[in-house]
Symmetry: C2
Subunit: 488 residues, 2 copies
């Protein structure tokens, strides 16, 4: 098998052969959600993309440490907070951590439904305030940040002149950025509009605040990812992922912070997942062109005619390459649902296929195709196309139109299941939606047949139906309104 | 309804009428797990007990803020760590937060299975290091702690002499404690063996460590609960819960820390849940008299003959009062399983009961009994006994041996469901274990009937069975080896 994995590096803008910093180990950091609202469907796409990347790296035998943060450090303000509210009234005040808890639970539930594996470490911004203060002190001591009115700002121009080009990831030029920026209100604290906060002074109405050498405040958003990736993966690590929209300024700032603090480029391979659109338009709450994951799973929305299971949504998302824009629509989901069912039904046939002396197709070539697809920058749509080649053969063998040997059957079965369930992380079972309903109708059909048997005075048959059902734990009870059943 | 709730206060050792500090609001803090191993079954009992307390307080109309912490601040040491391991080898080192993640996920899964509601806030020790350092500084400044070799210890004797009696919760006397304690090795840092650490200096092999005014170290265990309860519930709050084993020294130390830092007793009502034993003996890993929650749910253990569902385990645990020792055994679980099924089946009948002009029993008295039980220090076994009174009536009405009016039926239905599902938090549906198996056998029975019809040349019947099943999405396929089915 060709196991030379290539990854498209957003930093060099080309596919590169993947070579981890420490042989056999991979350190991977992905920017997680801000837990002040329900997780966005576009973010779910990003996390599914990196879940498959994580799965494939592990499948190739790497020991992967996957870190994905939770941004819980707060920008929430309490407008109602008055001085007269005493400390005793603590319970009556808005508590940001209640909001954090609610949306963290929602986030985990959604990712669990789409069958994502949890990351190995899920650190929170509030869990690393000390580390953020320490790194801010460090950058301040090195002269690449300055204090202004209780806040600490990173000096982008000095960094750009003395350490490295600011903008190298996003392809921006600092002189142009400065030339194009008008002075914004409230930014007079900064020497330059491009400078960004490492630490912000807390206004009186700001609830989440911590003591620091510069007074009470809270960390700048970019800082959390720098300290958490450094703490758990080292000053340099292999893969940093996130949504395309985080490239600038967030990831650009991470590079600047890391390189200033630790003297090295923090990340070897930068990876960015592309956008999800809805019916050809950007999703946006304000325009109403918007869908939440749970609205799709429940069918409770005005964009789609029915519910689509998390399994189908995952399959749909993996049918596009992570670096391409993906458009969600009714038609696309319907096609995905059909494709997913077709694949699962073929897999169910796999182990029951009749075997022959020879195989009528080249099994090794087929399987090599699975690896080739994934080794080419995790190309899941090509992998799925190759898996459908296998589906075609499986159906042909089942219909007696192709043959497979016992050894090849075992090889094919293992490879198809490995890539479908372990690598793509597709749900093993067709979603059980509707199963209970079909079960009920099946029992009702038996009740009807039994009633007919009784009308025909065929007591042997009517007793048989009742007794057999009782053996399965289904108890029939004849009453005035007809026959009902219960589970023993 | 009598809504005067009484709570047994471990501090006063008597039942007291519950009166919250802030009208209409309840602040409740419960000591959570240390996430370095699978959650202990005894802890699950404690968390189910406080889940019911939380549920009942909300049911009574209180706005409850329920805080339960996660102890993730580490006592893990890395014995293999050598100086020659460079920073670059970060990925090869033991990372405590990976262990924390693994067991936090396990903990949440188990509590979710037993149908516990998540707390409103679930703070972590590592998320509150700054607060712990600040409170340690405060106690140090007030003169009730001292530094010794980079660690900070609370001066228990000084607290006992000047502020309050140390031991008032657990009923211990400090002079006796001192008289009974021999000097232990390694405790020479302390002025007195009863003194406890607010902050510990980190030894070189200690992995989890943070900078502090006293050098690198980590917080003492008691401190996290003091700062997190204060931060989210205030300097004084209503209810503090935990397992009986935490009364001393953990909760005693919390009182001492809180009263010294804030000048007030932190907690109005202290509540302690009692022990769970297994086959009459204390559970212990070393003796092998031990069961994990998942071992019960899966049946994968050498203590029980079969699996018991999380619903049955919850029901079993609520059949004892939280302040009594509860013994888990095969017999007790079997009885619980039977009782739980009986209750659920009666509830299924409730809305279908025939109504009469009058009720043959006093419905209000019955319902008042539900409240009376819970108002008496959350007496769940009495509540369950009262619910079984309702079950008895439901079955009598169903069998035509008792009567109920339409108005009473609605009242009874609401009360039974409220107390069963909302207050006790029992699972709404009988666990689905075995359902898929029964479904399969039901379809097989229809296939058998169809085969018989075909043998009888009763084509109308055989077609009917095939066509009806197809309507429910079950497709029959006749092949060489017989008839198989698949879901459309």
């Amino acid at each position: 098998m060709n196991k030379e994995l290539k990854i498209y590096n957003s930093l060099t803008k080309q596919k590169e052969i993947f070579k981890p910093l420490v042989e056999g180990h991979v350190g991977m950091y992905v920017c997680g959600p801000t837990v002040y609202s329900n997780v966005h469907l576009g973010n779910v796409r990003t996390f599914i993309s990196f879940d498959v990347i994580y799965r494939y790296l592990k499948f190739l035998g790497y020991k992967v440490r996957y870190v994905r943060n939770i941004t819980d450090a707060g920008h929430l303000e309490d407008d109602t907070q008055e001085d007269k509210i005493s400390k005793k009234a603590r319970l009556e005040k808005l508590e940001p951590m209640e909001i954090v808890q609610q949306y963290t639970i929602d986030f985990h539930k959604v990712l669990d439904l789409v069958n994502n594996l949890p990351p190995d470490i899920e650190p929170t911004a509030t869990g690393h305030i000390i580390e953020q203060i320490e790194t801010t002190k460090d950058i301040l001591n090195k002269g690449y940040a300055y204090e202004s009115n209780g806040s600490i700002y990173f000096d982008v121009v000095k960094y750009n002149n003395e350490i490295d080009k600011y903008g190298k990831l996003s392809g921006r030029n600092i002189d142009e950025m400065i030339a194009n920026t008008r002075e914004l209100e409230g930014q007079d604290e900064k020497r330059n509009p491009q400078d960004f906060a490492l630490w912000k002074k807390a206004k009186p109405q700001h609830i989440m605040r911590w003591p620091s050498p510069w007074g009470e405040g809270f960390p700048g958003w970019h800082m959390e990812c720098t300290v958490m990736s450094t703490k758990y993966l080292g000053e340099q690590f292999d893969i940093h992922g996130g949504g395309m929209d985080l490239k600038f300024p967030h990831h650009e700032c991470e590079i600047a912070q890391g390189k200033t603090a630790n003297g090295v480029d923090p990340v070897k391979y930068w990876m960015h997942a592309n956008m999800l659109t809805l019916n050809g338009q950007k999703m946006s709450k304000s325009t109403g062109n918007h869908l939440l994951p749970n609205e799709i799973f429940s069918g409770n929305n005005d964009k789609l005619s029915k519910a689509y299971s998390p399994a189908v949504v995952r399959f749909f998302m993996l049918q596009a390459h992570y670096r391409n824009i993906l458009d969600l629509s009714e038609d696309a989901l319907q096609a995905a649902e059909k494709g997913y069912k077709r694949m699962m039904e073929a897999i169910k046939l796999l182990d029951k296929l009749p075997v022959s002396d020879n195989s009528s197709f080249d099994i090794n070539e087929l399987i090599t195709g699975f690896y080739t697809a994934m080794n080419d920058d995790f190309n899941t749509p090509i992998l799925i196309a190759n898996l459908f080649e296998a589906v075609k053969y499986i159906n042909q063998i089942n219909d007696g139109k192709a043959t497979i040997s016992q050894a090849d059957k075992e090889k094919l079965s293992k490879a198809v299941k490995d890539f479908t369930f372990d690598v793509l992380g597709l749900h093993k079972e067709l979603q059980e939606t509707g199963h209970n309903q079909a079960f009920d109708k099946t029992i009702q059909l038996l009740i009807e047949l039994r009633n007919q048997a009784r009308a025909d005075k065929n007591w042997a048959l009517s007793d048989k139906i009742r007794d057999e059902l009782a053996k399965f734990g289904i108890i029939l009870k004849d009453g005035k309104g007809g026959t009902t059943y219960s589970f023993k």
